[in-house]
Symmetry: C3
Subunit: 140 residues, 3 copies
């Protein structure tokens, strides 16, 4: 596999703002701290969520909207550049009152409460079109 | 969002003790190593588990008990101070013999086997009551 | 619980190769970079997967095969030595087109796309047989 050795430049603990969008919060933060590459990990709860699943045959994302309060059991993702802007590639495992888990690529979600660890690297990662998957993947 | 830049003071790989309580193990360890702020990540299996879901309307946690062996597919959480004691805010994704995933806020679980990475920071994070959510959130 | 304080020797961002095996990619990388202890975190998608559940009564793994495209909502694991070879103990939460999550111990999965953060430690972790669980656990 392709890889790049990185050094960490800074690390943060963050509290997401109640009522804000989960992913947008991360991207705004990355802009503010000029994070060009990083990984983040989080937990909390959201008031609703839009998850996406990538159809590998049609090579398109399909969207699912969950208009209900959900725990964020685990959130994992990374920051890199896509089309000249910082993009937070965000996956999440959410859960319902009976414990049922739903998961996928997180497009947006309204924060109820959220706690994040963010680790920034001394690299600039860019996403470029990949023919095999029709996705925008890293140039590591 | 609110954030605090931190530096890491120490990091650990840990083996949870068979038969002990998953969350208590982490809190006892945090006390032993005087960890006032940190994040942890883990995987393993448990013999049973109590998960909780936060009802955003009633602003109360509801408890669910699973009296069955479960894989710990992913566990993520952090250490901070709550009411003068170290508290391990722990979320987990668990799974059943057919792969079905259940998830949420982990209150307690009897360890079958568990492996953890813990990263401690040079900060003291405290939880204080937040009016908007009726939860105890960080003072970052 | 048993633990070992470690220092990080190197960290990497990685792009898993389309069509390769998810776990084998990590083990090959660990061999290439001589990683004797480490943790990794990832997200992406796979074309199929074999998950395993450890039956705590029979002390045996049972295998489940999912021959379908799945998102990798969260993947967490570690690298250590088992029977003289580097082993990537890998857990994952996967998801279906409707968001349904399945999870467990990941034995193999064909990569569609995958992004990983790997952190290597200045330690050599070995797995040895543990009587209580009949598993190969760390000698921390």
């Amino acid at each position: 596999m392709d890889y790049r050795e990185v050094d960490s430049t800074s690390e943060y603990v963050c509290r997401l703002e109640h009522g804000a969008d989960w992913r947008e919060e991360i991207e705004t933060f990355a802009d503010k701290r000029s994070i060009d590459a990083g990984f983040f990990y989080g937990l909390g709860a959201v008031q609703d969520a839009e998850l996406m699943f990538y159809d590998q045959d049609r090579t398109e994302y399909d969207s699912m909207t969950f208009d209900e309060p959900l725990e964020v059991a685990a959130c994992m993702g990374n920051v890199s550049h896509l089309d000249g802007e910082r993009f937070a590639h965000t996956h999440a495992v959410l859960s319902r009152p009976d414990g049922e888990a739903i998961a996928g690529h997180l497009n947006r979600a309204t924060v109820w409460a959220g706690e994040l660890y963010v680790r920034a690297f001394d690299a600039k990662l860019k996403r470029e079109h990949d023919d095999a998957t029709d996705l925008d993947l890293w140039n590591v």
